[in-house]
């Protein structure tokens, strides 16, 4: 948090909404009672705003597209495979990668709350946590995909993974055609967040993001 924000937070009560006042009240109490250091809260927020996001998952996908041994290891034990990649290796023990093929499309949901592979994709978007997606993904996944402008051949199997325990699922999308010889860094640019949830496809080469 910047100096300016601190100033704002202390001096401009009238500009704070009821919501902000209630959040601030709780944080003040937790701080005054010595439960939390506000600087530690700042550090958590900063990590999710600046370090942890879909670029982590994109790097994993791009490597799987480029390196057949890594792809095999990822599908066998994603936690172990991702654990070899240094700073994106903080996924713990319960990551599972599921591979899209011409015959099968994978899609991830958490119908009960909002379970999502934070370390790979960052914090989930609002739609992932909201009722329309959580209610329909398991019953009408094609309808949900249509909301995203995604359509699949009618014979393609759709496998929906409901994240009801601590397993976190990462979709390994199909590598776009026309990317022969591309570097991992170039490939990673094509990997979208939604393609790793299963509600979208990677970008096509040559089409700006």
């Amino acid at each position: 948090m910047t100096e300016h924000d601190h100033h704002h937070r202390h001096d401009d009560h009238s500009e704070l909404s009821e919501t902000e006042l209630r959040v601030r009240a709780l944080e003040t109490i937790l701080t005054e009672k010595g439960y939390v250091d506000p600087a530690a809260l700042d550090a958590i927020i900063q990590a999710y705003e600046t370090k942890i996001g879909p670029h982590n998952g994109a790097r994993v996908v791009a490597k799987a597209w480029s390196d057949p041994a890594f792809r095999k290891a990822l599908l066998e034990d994603a936690s172990k495979a991702v654990g070899t990649l240094g700073h994106v290796g903080r996924v713990g023990d319960h990551l599972v990668a599921v591979e899209n093929t011409p015959h099968r499309h994978n899609m991830v949901v958490c119908t009960l709350c909002s379970c999502y592979p934070w370390e790979m994709l960052g914090l989930p978007p609002v739609w992932y946590k909201a009722a329309p997606y959580r209610s329909r993904a398991v019953k009408d996944p094609r309808g949900v995909l249509a909301d995203f402008g995604v359509s699949l051949p009618k014979e393609t199997e759709i496998r929906v993974w409901d994240s009801t325990a601590e397993t976190r699922f990462l979709v390994l999308p199909m590598r776009p055609e026309g990317t022969e010889g591309w570097s991992e860094a170039q490939l990673a640019e094509l990997v979208t967040r939604d393609s790793m949830i299963g509600t979208g496809f990677p970008r096509m080469p040559g089409i700006p993001s």
């Binding site: 439960y35 996001g53 019953k139 929906v160 009801t164």
Partner: protein, 219 residues
């Protein structure tokens, strides 16, 4: 509990509306709430299952009409008040008025941040051999506990096939009530669309859940 949080298969919520270039947080307070929940959990005020149970226990109209992080704030507040870490009178005053209650893991300071950035481990030594193996047909039990469970309603009573064993893990139904970890075998179980949604279902759809052994019986 059969709450409104258990949304799989419900109708009427409308289209999925994705926001282009969505920010990590829409308002600054959302980040503060997320961080407070993570920090107080790491300090020992709750485990992940307890925090889910407090959010599920919000009145249905509140659950459905509140934004995501507002539900997090309400769940955190209820948890901290119930356990005596914070009092209603402190919340009304916006300041501490009473002595702090010791936290199991102590104050959450800057040196604790790295620890929570690595995802927790939920696997535990198994108390017994696994009852099921990949390929086994299993039925999700027709069970309706009034407290926290991770067996979604839409799967109950239906027959699926065990696809993989995910190890023996902390059992949310026990952990959420702070009755201990009570580790149980966990399986990925896959169901056909027609089994879950009837003969009119899209025949290309399969849905899997991660199901703990106490949720399953042989079929």
């Amino acid at each position: 509990m059969n709450g409104v949080h258990d949304m799989g298969g419900m109708d009427g919520f409308g289209k999925v509306e994705a926001e282009a270039n969505e920010p990590t947080f829409h308002e600054k307070w959302e980040g503060r709430v997320m961080a407070m929940v993570r920090a107080m959990g790491a300090a020992g005020a709750h485990n992940i299952d307890t925090s889910r149970f407090y959010r599920e226990s919000l009145p249905p109209h509140v659950y459905l009409s509140s934004s995501y992080y507002w539900k997090w704030l309400l769940g955190l507040r209820d948890n901290l008040v119930a356990k005596g870490f914070v009092t209603e009178s402190e919340l009304a005053a916006g300041h501490a008025k009473e002595a702090a209650k010791p936290l199991k893991k102590g104050k959450f300071g800057l040196d604790s941040v790295e620890r929570i950035m690595v995802r927790g481990r939920f696997e535990r030594p198994p108390p017994a051999l696994a009852k099921f193996k990949p390929g086994d047909r299993v039925r999700a039990k027709n069970m309706h506990p009034a407290t926290h469970t991770r067996l979604p309603r839409y799967a109950r009573g239906h027959v699926g096939v065990v696809e993989r064993i995910l190890g023996c893990q902390v059992f949310p139904d026990s952990a959420s009530m702070e009755l201990g970890e009570n580790p149980q075998w966990l399986y990925n179980v896959v169901f056909g669309g027609a089994e879950l949604w009837g003969p009119d279902a899209d025949p290309t759809v399969k849905v899997s859940i991660d199901a703990f052994e106490p949720y399953l019986e042989p079929a």
